[in-house]
Every structure is written in structure tokens, then in C-alpha cells.
Symmetry: C2
Subunit: 272 residues, 2 copies
């Protein structure tokens, strides 16, 4: 199978791409990874200007020669192009699997709202840079190549709908044209590099929104690399999640095995 890789947010290092190519060749010889040249383009904060990133995404998504589209990295930039991208996607794009997380959540949200059936929150190519990143790459390829159930977040139950997002990313798309209908979904949330007071504020925002009030429940993934709060915030991230869930009567369902780390499991969107 052929997996096309694009970077709607930040650019990828060529050395990282080469390492992932070598790793995949050894572990998944049936997989061909094709890095769109746009992955290595740079324009200010982004992997190329908005138009270049959008065109690369559309080219790979609409190309029947690719079985899947894998996000190169997170970062920032997807929200600037997602509406134009979704409008340009044809029927072929719906047959593909899409895998990414963090800033890619803007794309997953827009695609899910548009009814794309094979979307998942999970590792990106750039996770190779993390210590022990091989595990994340293998997990991503296991899911992309053969839908390996071992790659999945372990709490998934047949017949239940799921979605997963970075807390800040989901907060920043609520109310926009990207907000998908998450009614009845178990919503898994993770965060990275945010002060706990910001996560508290974002959870106020999320749980106070009518679209999120209709989820079946929230599971909290890992909240990592939290800057030191001065003074101490005085609540753990799980206490904060429980607080807002209780306040808004959204069921808090416990932890989720997702996060900005090599342990990040795959969460397919929709009914499992």
C-alpha cells in the first residue's frame, strides 16, 4: 500500500523522513511511504504558504494511487487552509485513511464534519524525533497498513462513537464551520505545554459549549510538559477535568491512553 505524507502545519526535517522511511522498510515492507515535497517547504511559521500546503493536501487526498494520508507533524497552520481543502476534495478522498493529531485536529474536525469515514487521532511522522519514537511510528503503520487492533486506544468498545482532540485545538474550532457533531461520542482530550490555569479555562470553554454538552462523556489523556504555575495551581489536571465535567453534568469516564508522546494510541473517529 502507498501512504502519502503532507504537512498542513509545520515542516518536517528530511533526516526524520529518512529515518521513518528506513524504519518502515524494515518493519512494513508492504508499505511505500511517499513524502510530498511540500513537507520540506518552509514559509515563516509554516511548511510552505497557505496555498502550497492546501494544494499538497488536496493532491494527495484526491490521488487514487494513495491508500492513506499521514500527517507529517503538528505545529500550527491547519486552520488557515482546512475549509479550502475540504471544499476541493473529491469522492476518492473519502476512501483513504487519515492519521494525525495536535494541530491536525483542525483537519480531522473538518473532514469528520464532511462525513469522511476513516479518520483517526494518532501518531505523526514527526514523533520519530521523540525518544523511543520508533514505537509510535510502528503503531501508526500497524493501523494504517492493516487496522491492527493492538494500535488502538484500549478503552474502545464496539458500538460506541469516539473522537479525540488536543484541548486547545478543539477549543479554538468550537462554533466555527469546522465543529463536528460530537453528540453521543466519547470525547478523548489531551494537552501539552499549557499552564494548568489555561487548561482549566479551556475546559470551562469546552464543557460550557452546547455541542460538547451532548457528548457521551469525556476521557482525559495525558497533559504533559506543563509549565510551572506560580503559585501552584493546586489541582491536578484530572481534578480540573472532573470539576468541569461535574459542573456541567458531562460524565467523566477516566483516563485515555493518548497524548503528545510515544505512547499515543490510535483513536478512530466515529462508531468503533
Amino acid at each position: 500500500m502507498r501512504i502519502g505524507i503532507v504537512a498542513p502545519s509545520a515542516p518536517l526535517d528530511r533526516a526524520v523522513a529518512d529515518r521513518v522511511t528506513a524504519l518502515a522498510a524494515a518493519s512494513h515492507p508492504d508499505v511505500e511511504l511517499v513524502f510530498h515535497p511540500q513537507c520540506f517547504s518552509t514559509h515563516n511559521h509554516f511548511a510552505g504558504a497557505d496555498r502550497e500546503r492546501a494544494e499538497a493536501f488536496v493532491a494527495v487526498a484526491n490521488d487514487p494511487a494513495f491508500d492513506a494520508l499521514w500527517f507529517a507533524r503538528g505545529g500550527y497552520g491547519s486552520c488557515r487552509i482546512v475549509e479550502a481543502v475540504v471544499a476541493a476534495l473529491g469522492p476518492t478522498a473519502r476512501d483513504k485513511a487519515y492519521l494525525g493529531y495536535s494541530d491536525a485536529g483542525f483537519m480531522l474536525a473538518g473532514l469528520y464534519k464532511a462525513g469522511f469515514p476513516r479518520l483517526a487521532h494518532g501518531p505523526v511522522v514527526g514523533d520519530m524525533k521523540r525518544e523511543g519514537g520508533e514505537a509510535a511510528i510502528h503503531r501508526a503503520l500497524d493501523w494504517l497498513a492493516r487496522g491492527d487492533p493492538a494500535a488502538l486506544e484500549p478503552s474502545l468498545m464496539p458500538g460506541t462513537a469516539y473522537a479525540a482532540f488536543n484541548i486547545t485545538v478543539l477549543s479554538q474550532l468550537l462554533g466555527t464551520a469546522l465543529e463536528p457533531d460530537l453528540s453521543g461520542h466519547v470525547l478523548m482530550l489531551e494537552e501539552v505545554s499549557e499552564y494548568l490555569y489555561r487548561t482549566d479555562r479551556a475546559l470551562f470553554h469546552l464543557t460550557g459549549n452546547p455541542g460538547i454538552a451532548r457528548v457521551a462523556g469525556i476521557r482525559l489523556g495525558r497533559v504533559s510538559d506543563v509549565p510551572e504555575n506560580d503559585p501552584d495551581f493546586g489541582e491536578t489536571e484530572e481534578e480540573t477535568a472532573r470539576f468541569w465535567c461535574e459542573r456541567t453534568t458531562i460524565p467523566y469516564l477516566g483516563r485515555a491512553d493518548i497524548g503528545h508522546d510515544v505512547g499515543n494510541k490510535v483513536v478512530p473517529f466515529g462508531i468503533y
Copy 2:
């Protein structure tokens, strides 16, 4: 007149309170400043626990002996108490002027949505700590004590409706029970201590929300203390504001004389 001061977010230093009291005694001898003891209380990140902060706000707002309620500081914490506070306010509370900004925007939003007629975005007591902070304090007192037009943001035009918010605060209340109807308002926005990519993302969120799409236009206040973006973001904050306004066909009306600084002018909410 008597001005009651409460701190729904972060606590105030007693030394700052003393300096503002001395300044006011010299410049505005007709004004009596009354600091609620809660201003100096501390609980983790906050000026007292949620209940203490809420009770202090309600006590001052509902007390007919006070002509105005002045916010002690920004910080974080208002969103945790605002709904309980607004529900507990009686008719007397509507006769007062309320002045603050930054995190106080959560309170101003909830009060504006509840129809309070005398709300304004402007300096807080804690601005005394800034270099040249006396100017901000004098401006606040000029507006609170006598509605001095010289204290007002200079672009205000009679017959037009206005509102002003910190960008992140407004983003984090969209879609919640606090979101006021800003249809037809000139919306002034300011930001502090955020990376430009975050301001870009927050402006995607704001301008993509239907409630904000109905404003008469956006004016951009100062965007200050911006951490260095690596790589350079490549757009100024005004280019970013113009970008999102053009994308969403919201009129961009130019700059506003507000911000996290001593030059922060007063913007009364509603029709001027």
C-alpha cells in the same frame, strides 16, 4: 462617591492598594475607595477560593452604599464564578458602574448578557504597578467618578455600540452561557503575552464564530509582550487581524487605543 473593589481573579498586593488609596485621596477627594478584604485573600492561583471570590463580588455589587465596582486585577479565575455571581445579583447591582479588563472580561460578558447598563473595559487597580501607572489610575477614577469623556477610547462615536475584550478571554467564552450578543457592535480587541501564532489561531476562532460575524467591525488594540516566535511569524498583528477580517468579511476598522498598559482607554459597553 464610594467605589468597592473586589478581585474575582488574582489577589492584590496591599502595598498597591495603599498606593492607589493615597493617589485617589490626592486627585479625587470626593472618592472613597473600599477594598473588600477578599482582594488580599489567596487560594492557589486565586484571590480566595471560588466561593469567597463570588461572595465578595455579590456583596459589593448588591450593596447600595457603593456607586461602582472596580476590578482589583486580571489574572485568571472569573470564569469559574461568573454564572453563580450573576444569578445572585439583585436590582441594586444594575445601578452601578463596573470597570475592568483582561480576565474581568468574563464578568463583563456575563453582566452585559444579563443587561447591565454601566459596564466598561478599562484600567484595574493593579495597573498601579506598571511604570507610569498613575495615569491609568487617574483615568479609571475620572471615568468612575464623573464619566469623564477624556478617559474614553478616542474613536467612540455617538449612536454606535461598542464592546472590548482581551482576544483570548473572548475566545474562551464563545458559545458558553457568557457570550453576549455583539451584533452591530464595534468590537475592540487587545492581547498580551501570546505568541503571534496563537493570536492568529484565536482570530480564526473569533472571526469564524457566527456571533462575532455579526459585529459592525473590529478594531485592534495593542498586542504587547509578544514572545519571540521561532521562526518569525512573518506577519504583524495588524496583518493577522486584517487577514481574518477579510477572510470572513468582517470590516476591519483600524487600531483601538486599548491594551495591557497604562495607555488603556475606557470603552463603555453598549451604545455610546
